[in-house]
Each structure stands twice: as C-alpha cells, then as structure tokens.
C-alpha cells in the first residue's frame, strides 16, 4: 500500500509541477531594463558566423571610442526572444529582415520612432534613399534604419562560353529577347529556370514577376501593387505577367519547358549552365545562388552576371534588413549613427567572411574586394538614390498572398500556360485578405 500511495501522490504532483513550470517558463537573461545600462544590445537572427564578423568590426571601430559596449547577438529563437525581451524591457535594437515585421513592432507600441529618438529624417533619407526608409513607416513616423541590402535583379551567364560564342550582355529587354533568339538559333537553350522549393515552391517565379513589374510600371505603381491600392489583376500586372510568359512559354526558350519548372529545385536550376557545352545560357536569381554553383566554378571566369535589363524603365529588386530601436537612450542613437557611418559600413564590406552590402548610398563599390558584391552595390546604390528600387513584393504582401496564393498562382500559370494568366491573377486578387 505504501508504494501505491506514493505513486498516487507523485503522478499528479509531477503533472502539476510540469504545468507550473510551463506557466513560469521563459528566458530571462541580462539585467533589468534600466535607462543607462552601459551596453547596447543588438538582437538578430543572423548566422553566428556573420554576427561574429559584425562583433569584430564593432569591437575594432566603435567600442574603443565610446563609453558603452555594443554587441550583436545571434539568436536561434529570434522571434520568441524579441517577444519576451520586449515585454521585459531588456531590448535595445533588433535587426528585422521583413519591413512588415517592422510595422508590426511599431503597431505593438514597443518600438521607438526614429523621430522621437532625435534622428534627422531628411538626413537618413539622403543616406538610404527615401524608398528604403519609407518601408519602416507607420502612422507618419519612421521605425526602421536599413542595415543590410542584397540584390535580386541579377541574370547569370557562363562567361567563358558566352564570350567564346560571341554573345554580348543585353541592357534592354528587347536585347535580351534578341539574345535568347540568337542562342536558340545557334542550337542552344537560352534559359534555365527552377521554382521547386518544398513548401515555398513558386517563390522564384514571384521574383521574376516583381522584376518585370518594377521595370514596366515603375516604383510608384509597384508600391501601390504591394499595398493593394491597385488590384492584383490590374492591367499593369497583366502586362507584367504577359512579358513573363513571353520568355517562359516561348518554344525552346526554357530548358525542360515551363510546365517542368515547378518540379526543378531552385538550387539545381543553374546547374546545366556549367555543362560543356552549356545546356542553358541565362539564369535569373539573387546573389545567394552562387552558393549552389559548382564549387570549382570561378566568378568572373566561369560565370558572371548582368543586372536585369530595363523594359520601360530601369528596375532594381532588392531585399534587406532594418534595425528597430526599443530603448530611447543617447547611447543607442550614438551606436546606430556610428554603425551606419561610411567607415564601419566599408569595413564590413571588405570582410571576406561577410556577404553584406551596405544600404548607405555613400559607401562606394570600392569597399568590396569581391567583384560580385562591388557590382551589386553599384546597381543598388543607383537604384536607391535614383528611385527605381523596389523591395521584394511577396515579402511585404500579407502572408496569405505573399507566401501563399502568389506562389501557387505563379506555379499554376507555368503549368496551365499563357491562357491561364487572367484567371490566375483573378484568384490571387480574390485571396487578398479583407482588412
């Protein structure tokens, strides 16, 4: 009986303990959220290696000159940590890769507006371009300082074979079509395209659409499209979809055909470009794709890139990261000012372990020893200060569209062919959430 009685007590006891432990769970690093803590903490979802690079630069160029210690923290459970520490008041700065999340933080009331911090907005606009800064705008105030940027409007080609075949880099859409036709006439296949990405299948196709939207309708209409101020089946979007289809559905343009593209992993897609002779000659993808190239392929020799050409105008599609402030303190402002200054940003670009590009338009391409980054930086700077840049639209749209119907709609378009464009755009429009 004694043992039974013991078990009888212990089972609920353990359950209750577990329940209580869950109720009282949560991280609680660091001290209380006082005003001057002598530290500036930057919470991020960066890879630990990248955070280490940033910390090295901060340790060299910022910390020795100030009376606080700044540190970048890479957190694996970033979103959870932001929640907990925002409530606990132990958060100084966070780095967010989505403008939508910046607005969410502003709406939650935890984030501090840059105006309230004493930043000169006109100054920031001159540094980062009006457009990028406006992405963190909420109820007339700005909440996000751009800290990183990467280029999506890139078309890759096998440079050595390309030069040998006598092809030239196109600068306009018509030239690109002419080049495609020439490649086809020479017996090759111009494009390699792959949209498969597990549960996110279709996103590379949305990048195509966004690039074409920017280069046809321009930044203002693009922004209206993102904010749903024009419908998703607006003539401007239909036009972009048709141009997209002109490449995808032209016979002999796409290796394997458009209907196969949703089954080809986006990482496998550029592979045939490195065959000898190349099985395809052009591949549109953001800068990260070089990680999927064959390891022996050399930049500038085996492959190179050109910016996605202008159609009715130039367009520069990019993605990036914004810093949001949670503690209104002079040292936080001082840190951000120093962090975004040209010398620190330039040092970051010359770090071989980092692929960050500065959104500060005053940081020249000379800061990047890597020629791909240098070239991308040049294009981005021109886009940001010239008003032709656009932030990845699907990342800004409501998730039901931006990581839902937009992806699947583009896949449907590829599978069902040119005639399905209108019905695809109609159904994406219908899926846009009400409020």
């Amino acid at each position: 009986m004694g043992m039974r009685r013991f078990r009888l007590v212990v089972l609920p006891a353990v359950l209750l303990f577990v329940a209580a432990a869950c109720g009282g769970d949560g991280g609680d690093e660091g001290g209380g959220g006082g005003e001057d803590t002598g530290t500036v903490n930057v919470l991020s979802a960066l890879e630990p290696e990248e955070a280490a690079v940033l910390n090295g630069i901060i340790g060299d160029l910022i910390n020795p000159n100030v009376d606080y210690t700044a540190e970048v923290e890479a957190s694996a459970d970033f979103e959870e940590q932001v929640q907990i520490r925002a409530e606990g008041g132990t958060l100084d700065i966070i780095l967010l890769p989505q403008p939508g999340a910046v607005v969410d933080q502003a709406a939650s009331g935890n984030a501090v507006a840059l105006e309230d911090m004493g930043f000169d907005i006109a100054d920031l606009q001159a540094t980062f371009g009006e457009y990028f800064l406006s992405l963190g705008e909420y109820q007339g105030k700005h909440y996000g300082i751009p800290t990183n940027i990467n280029l999506k409007s890139m078309v890759w080609y096998p440079k050595d074979d390309f030069d040998k075949a006598g092809y030239t880099v196109p600068t306009t859409w018509d030239e690109m079509i002419a080049l495609s036709n020439q490649i086809k006439a020479d017996g090759g296949t111009p494009w390699c395209v792959g949209y498969e990405s597990g549960g996110a299948t279709g996103w590379p196709a949305t990048d195509w659409m966004e690039d074409i939207m920017l280069a046809t309708a321009g930044q203002d209409v693009y922004t209206q499209w993102v904010k749903h101020e024009i419908p998703f089946n607006d003539p401007a979007v239909v036009n972009a979809g048709q141009l997209f289809g002109d490449i995808m559905f032209a016979p002999g343009y796409v290796l394997g055909g458009a209907d196969q593209t949703p089954a080809i992993a986006f990482g496998d897609a550029p592979g045939p470009m490195f065959d000898d002779p190349p099985k395809c000659w052009l591949h549109r993808q953001a800068s990260f794709i070089t990680a999927f190239f064959p390891p022996e392929a050399e930049a500038g020799v085996d492959y190179d890139w050109f910016p996605f050409p202008a159609i009715d105008q130039q367009g520069t599609l990019f993605a990036g990261e914004l810093a949001v402030v949670f503690r209104d303190a002079p040292e936080v402002k001082d840190f951000l000012t120093r962090f975004m200054a040209e010398d620190v940003q330039c040092a970051m670009g010359s770090e071989p372990g980092s692929s960050r590009i500065s959104p500060n338009v005053n940081v020249g391409p000379d800061c990047y020893p890597n020629p791909i980054l240098a070239g991308a930086s040049e294009v981005l700077t021109a886009g940001l200060s010239g008003g032709t840049a656009g932030f990845d639209a699907s990342d800004q749209m409501p998730p039901a569209v931006g990581s839902g119907s937009f992806w699947t709609g583009m896949v449907e378009y590829m599978q069902d062919g040119p005639s399905s464009l209108n019905s695809v755009l109609d159904s994406i429009e219908k899926s846009w959430p009400a409020s």
Binding site: R4, F17, A20, A21, A263, C280, V411
Partner: protein, 383 residues
C-alpha cells in the same frame, strides 16, 4: 482507502458506482467540489506566483533553477500531504467520499486548463476574423466548404482514411499470418517490417522524398531510386511528386510503409493468442488453409483488427508531417485538413480560418473516437 485506487481514473469510477453511505447530502458534494477544484486551483496559482516571483529576481540562474525545483516538487508534495491531512480531519463518514476527489482534482484542473479551455476557445475563434478581433459569423466555415484548396484537402483526407488503413491492415495481416508460419527467422522478418515504425514521420518523408526525387533531362543525374529504375528500364524520368492526382497515393505509401509494422505486430500477437486446439480441430475436420484463415482466424482477431483500423484512421485524419515535408501541398494538389490548419494559422496568419478547420477536423474525429470507445467497452464487458 478503497482497494482499487491505484490511479485517479479508476478512483472516480469506483466512487461513481458506489455512492458513499450516510447522510450529509449537502455537505459531501460541496466538500467534493472544494477538494477537487478549489484546493488544486489555489495550489496551482500559488506555485505560479512563486515562479513568477523567482523569474523576476536577478539572482544566479542556477540558484533560481534549484530553488524552483525544490519549491515546485516540494510544494506539490506538500499540497497533497496537506490535503490528505485536511481530509483526515473530516468526520469519518465524509472522509472516504471526499478523498478520491481531492486526488483527482489536480488532474481535472490540468485537463480543463489544457484541453477543455482550448477546445472552447478554438470554437469561439472559429467564428472570429483573421486576428480573432470581431465576430464574422459562419464566414470561416463557408470558406472551409467552398475554397478550392480546402475542398481538395477534404477529398484527399477522405482518400487517406480509406487507403491507409485498408492497405496498412491488409498487408500487416498478410505478413502476420505468413510470418507465423515461418520455421525460422520470424523475429528477424518481423523486425524488418517493424523497423520503419522507429523513424519519425519527418525523417521518413525526407527518405521517401529522395526515393521520388526527380530531375528533368539536362539538370544532372537523377538521384531518385524510382527514377533510377525508370531510366534503367529505358523510360523517361517521372516527376512523381507532381503527378496529380497519383502523387496523393505516393504520399500515402509513406504512411503505409511506416504503419504496416505496427499492424503486423499487434495482429501477430492476436493470431498467436488463438488457441491451437481450435485451428487444429478445423484442420482435422478438413478445412482448407484459406477456410481456416477466413472462418477461424479473422473472426477470432476481429476486435484487434477493428482497434488497429481505428488507430490508423485517426492517424490518417491527423496526417500533416508527410504532406508538409515532401513538398508544396498547394501546388501539387496534395493538401490535407491538418496541413491546411497549420498553413492558415502559422503561415497565412488567419486565426479564424485555422480554428474553423480545426473544429471541422475535431468533429470528424469524434465519431471515430465514440465508435472506438464503444467497441472498447463491449470488449471489456465480454471479458
């Protein structure tokens, strides 16, 4: 104490069947209520407050954890000890009527907090909008039964709950029967079939994703096993996971592969428990092996078959991991109900729709559960 109070569940049963003797008609229910709900609730919130207090302290973390464990375990232990003492203070005739409730109480509280409350809340949210702010009536349910993708998911789920148990149980039964006749190596053969059971759904899905892997011509070597075979036979590679509607079947194969082992082990145990005399008697009477199987074995193990089948039906209703890991359900047309729920809640951030889907799934599982419980009761009664 009564003899069969080895666990809280049977404790309620015993008391429910045999109401305590003696008067105190008003006092006993009241005392039971206090014992069963109020005392654990007070204890629970006392603990909660302690942990909250501990969390806010700036002490050494290790120390805080240590104190928390001591307070947590000790506190709960003290709570039960104190309640037991309190019950002992009651007059003798109330004592045994109240004691079980005191011990079941914490279980009831936890059940209500973590099961009953979420269910009620989910039903409430299913009538609200995406951010669960204002009521939208039946809009979310209208969505569930009109959206193309949702309808596909309902159709696919129906396919899952028919195909997976059908093949899982049949193949499991065949293996169990045949393995039973092996002179040697039965254990090895059964272990081989049972092995996939040890893999997680996500892991198995990734394995099968590689089996189905596809690359069109020009995009490098086909690394998938099936397409390797196709090429070996001189055929073109096939994008298995994009071939609608067959890709649904290819996903079901994964679950069948994983669960056949379970069916086999349980059914094999049932077959072994059939008395040898019955089977031998049938054989002596001239029954063929097929007749023995159909007329003797199947009826004898029918209750087990039913239990295994319901288990598989419920698993198939809840399937999510396989569909989610293998690829984009929406573009491949392989949506299932549970996958839609996760999608709408976590990815598309629409609480109302996700909750409505959850409610539909919940309602779909209830009949199976009721049937299962009823079968179980019948079996208990005949034992």
């Amino acid at each position: 104490m009564k003899t069969s109070t080895h666990d809280p569940a049977s404790a309620t049963e015993v008391v429910a069947e045999a109401p305590p003797a003696g008067g105190g008609a008003v006092w006993i229910p009241l005392l039971r209520l206090v014992g069963a709900l109020v005392v654990p609730l007070v204890g629970f919130f006392a603990l909660w407050a302690t942990f909250d207090f501990l969390r806010d302290e700036n002490a050494n973390r290790g120390l805080v954890v240590g104190v928390a464990i001591v307070v947590g375990v000790g506190g709960v232990f003290f709570l039960f000890w104190a309640m037991d003492r309190l019950v002992s203070l009651l007059p003798a005739r109330y004592r045994e009527g109240v004691r079980p409730y005191v011990f079941v109480g914490p279980g009831l509280v936890i059940l209500s907090v973590f099961l009953v409350y979420p269910v009620i809340n989910t039903i409430l949210i299913s009538f609200k909008d995406a951010r669960s702010e204002s009521f939208v009536g039946l809009d979310n349910f209208k969505f569930v039964f009109t959206d193309e993708s949702m309808l596909r998911s309902i159709r696919n789920t129906a396919g899952w709950i028919i195909v997976v148990p059908l093949f899982g149980v049949s193949i499991g039964l065949a293996f169990a029967t045949l393995a039973d006749r092996l002179r040697r190596g039965e254990a090895v053969a059964k272990s081989m079939i049972f092995l996939p059971m040890a893999i997680s759904f996500a892991g198995a899905s990734i394995t099968w994703k590689l089996i189905y892997a596809f690359r069109p011509e020009g995009f490098g070597t086909n690394i998938g096993l099936l397409n390797g075979i196709m090429l070996g036979l001189g055929q073109q590679p096939v994008p298995w996971l994009q071939e609608q509607p067959w890709n649904n079947l290819f996903l079901m194969v994964i679950m069948i592969w994983m669960q056949t082992g379970f069916a086999m082990v349980v059914l094999s145990a049932a077959i072994k428990s059939i008395p040898d005399e019955i089977i031998e008697a049938a054989r002596i009477d001239g029954a063929s092996e097929l007749q023995v199987f159909r007329r003797i074995m199947i009826p004898s193990i029918l209750p087990t078959i039913v239990v295994v089948t319901t288990y598989m039906v419920i698993n198939a209703l809840k399937v999510f991991d396989i569909v989610f890991v293998v690829g984009s359900a929406e573009t491949n047309g392989t949506e299932v109900i549970a996958e839609r729920m996760i999608r709408w809640f976590f990815i598309s951030a629409n609480d109302g729709r996700a909750a409505a889907i959850a409610v539909v799934l919940f309602l779909a599982i209830i009949p199976v559960m009721i049937w299962n419980v009823r079968r179980f009761r019948e079996q208990e009664a005949t034992r």
